[in-house]
């Protein structure tokens, strides 16, 4: 499987399939403009209270459809359609990627069931409901809760992550069977395409704020990377005496965008594949540690800097899956805490968007950076000008294609809403299933899948590399990312819901 033409991989890579799955659903949602509702069947969990459900069980207390046109359907019927549609779309992608279909379908079904179990359980009031007035009512007081973790939508995310991690670390045989379908990058990239629709709707509501977020995100990313890569590379070479190729791959993995950067850099400098593979194993485990630690840490210590926290997360947490997952968790935790402390509810999605936008800039940047690095390596390090040359097509091959889906979803939404303002409201209502339950479900699938593929025991034997990673993360990446994010985003807060 080689990349020969610009169209290479369009049917065989997960990156492209995130675009196809995301845009297929988006296209179905756009039929709302001609009066249809092809996505309203999407199931979503309700917030429930256990004594009420145990005493008098009904599925309708746990699940409901999104669209009003599907309200009469049995809750399990909408859930089943949700499963069939998503399993079908992902199975088509898996077929073209030549995955083992039997293992994929069994794995996907299992992950889907775990995801929904966590999502439903995580919506129990003692876990989610915040003691504050929202839309004129205080659900916490109205339901006479005697205690509550008050985690908001962060509760199902945490449950999903813990379930995935438990399988990945304590049921390794099972995790191996699920691996064919445990594709956090595919799930999160599809979610990011859906997030493009959210950003479109949010941009309409707060255009100036969105533009500021986008531009300052780009500037912050650029400034941060002027420091990250050289500092980590120097640390690896000078303090840890690593070889040039290992230092370069590790510097990219730690400081740019994790696994994809490690592989792209390994390719750019024509390193033996074992180097990016080893670094990638390290990145995956550390990304999970970052995902577990940073959202809670930022929410606890910097509760009044939501956008700074989101952007810092985007620059610090490696891999798209872990970053978006951490951003989503941070979004929920910070909104819940702010609501609890001030009674004021921030609009959901802005903190997550700041984390994702920063990461998107970084992902776009990797193709250009590795192309420059490839030229430096051929001409200055290997000193082989005239014998070896590298084509600019390498930039395209390494370009993250899901970003195209994100941009199409975002700009498509904006274009329709601004060119035909009379349809803006219909468009917003018609795409609501993507903006909320579908996006949330893809995040939930990501949380479970990322846990399943993370095996902390892989840190054993990594010795020096793991120490270097930890030092670079704690003393270079995290602090610089936070300072840069603070310089560019300080004082920014999401609009009030």
């Amino acid at each position: 499987m080689t990349n020969r033409r610009w169209t290479s991989g369009m049917l065989t890579t997960e990156d492209w399939w995130a675009v196809w799955v995301g845009l297929a659903i988006y296209a179905a949602a756009l039929t709302s403009l001609v009066g249809l509702d092809l996505v309203g069947w999407m199931s979503r969990p309700r917030t429930w209270e256990w004594t009420n459900v145990v005493g008098d069980f009904e599925w309708s207390k746990l699940l409901r459809s999104t669209g009003a046109g599907y309200a009469a359907w049995h809750p399990l019927a909408t859930w089943l359609v949700t499963y069939v549609v998503f399993a079908g779309l992902f199975a088509i992608g898996a077929y073209f990627q030549r995955l083992d279909m039997r293992r994929f379908l069994l794995g996907f079904t299992t992950i889907f069931l775990i995801t929904w179990a966590c999502w439903i359980v995580g919506n129990e009031m003692h876990l989610t409901t915040v003691d504050a007035v929202v839309d004129g009512t205080n659900a916490y007081r109205d339901n006479e809760l005697s205690w509550g973790l008050q985690l908001g939508e962060g509760a199902p995310y945490l449950l999903a992550l813990l379930a995935g991690l438990a399988i990945g670390n304590f049921a390794k045989g099972w995790a191996a069977k699920l691996r064919e379908a445990a594709k956090p990058e595919w799930f999160i990239k599809t979610a990011i395409v859906f997030l493009g629709v959210n950003l479109g709707a949010m941009t309409l509501e707060a255009t100036e704020f969105a533009l500021e977020l986008i531009l300052t995100g780009a500037a912050a990313t650029f400034v941060a990377y002027l420091f990250f890569w050289p500092l980590v590379y120097t640390l690896a070479r000078r303090a840890f005496r690593l070889r040039r190729d290992a230092s370069a791959v590790l510097a990219s993995g730690i400081s740019i965008c994790g696994v994809s950067a490690a592989i792209a850099t390994g390719g750019a400098i024509r390193a033996r594949p074992i180097i990016p593979v080893t670094v990638s194993m390290l990145v995956v485990v550390f990304a999970m540690i970052e995902l577990l630690v940073l959202p809670g840490l930022y929410a606890a210590f910097f509760p009044d800097q939501p956008i700074v926290n989101g952007a810092a997360m985007g620059m610090t947490v490696k891999t798209d899956g872990a970053d978006a997952a951490a951003g989503a968790l941070l979004d929920e935790l910070m909104i819940a805490r702010h609501l609890q402390e001030t009674g004021e509810q921030w609009q959901a999605g802005w903190i997550l968007s700041s984390a994702v936008l920063t990461k998107v800039w970084i992902d776009v940047f990797i193709g250009i950076w590795t192309f420059v690095l490839a030229l430096i390596w051929v001409y200055k390090v290997e000193k082989r000008p005239g014998q070896v040359s590298v084509g600019a097509s390498e930039i395209w091959f390494r370009f993250p294609k899901f970003v195209l889906g994100y941009l199409i979803a975002w700009l498509g939404f904006l274009a329709i809403a601004t060119l035909w303002p009379a349809h803006a409201e219909t468009l917003d209502a018609g795409t609501r299933a993507l903006q909320s339950p579908m996006r949330h479900m893809m995040f939930m699938l990501t949380f479970v899948a990322i846990g399943i593929i993370t095996d902390f025991s892989k840190l054993k034997g990594m010795g020096r590399l793991a120490v270097l990673y930890a030092i670079a993360l704690a003393f270079v990446i995290a602090p610089i990312a936070y300072v840069v994010a603070w310089i560019f985003h300080r004082g920014l807060t999401p609009p009030i819901a």
Binding site: T12, R179, I263, R270, P276, G386, Q387, E394
Partner: protein, 85 residues
Amino acid sequence: MTDRAHAAELTLRWERGRWRAQGAGVDVTNPDLAALDDLIVRALRGRGATRAHVRFDTSTLPMWLRQYQAHYFNYVLHIGGGERP
């Protein structure tokens, strides 16, 4: 003969600790990529090829890794560029 006709197409793999390039009637292996390039140049010199498009076969990367990045590297080897000093 067009310029395109002078280009040989080779697929590069990493197999059991060695690089292996195959295609255009060439099948060479070496643990060092620069040394492999020299072998390719020697094999293709005299066959009318002025350059070789070398493309890495990403299916030799571990399956779990491919979801993060589906490209490793391609490069062009100039046959008339002389051997590595």
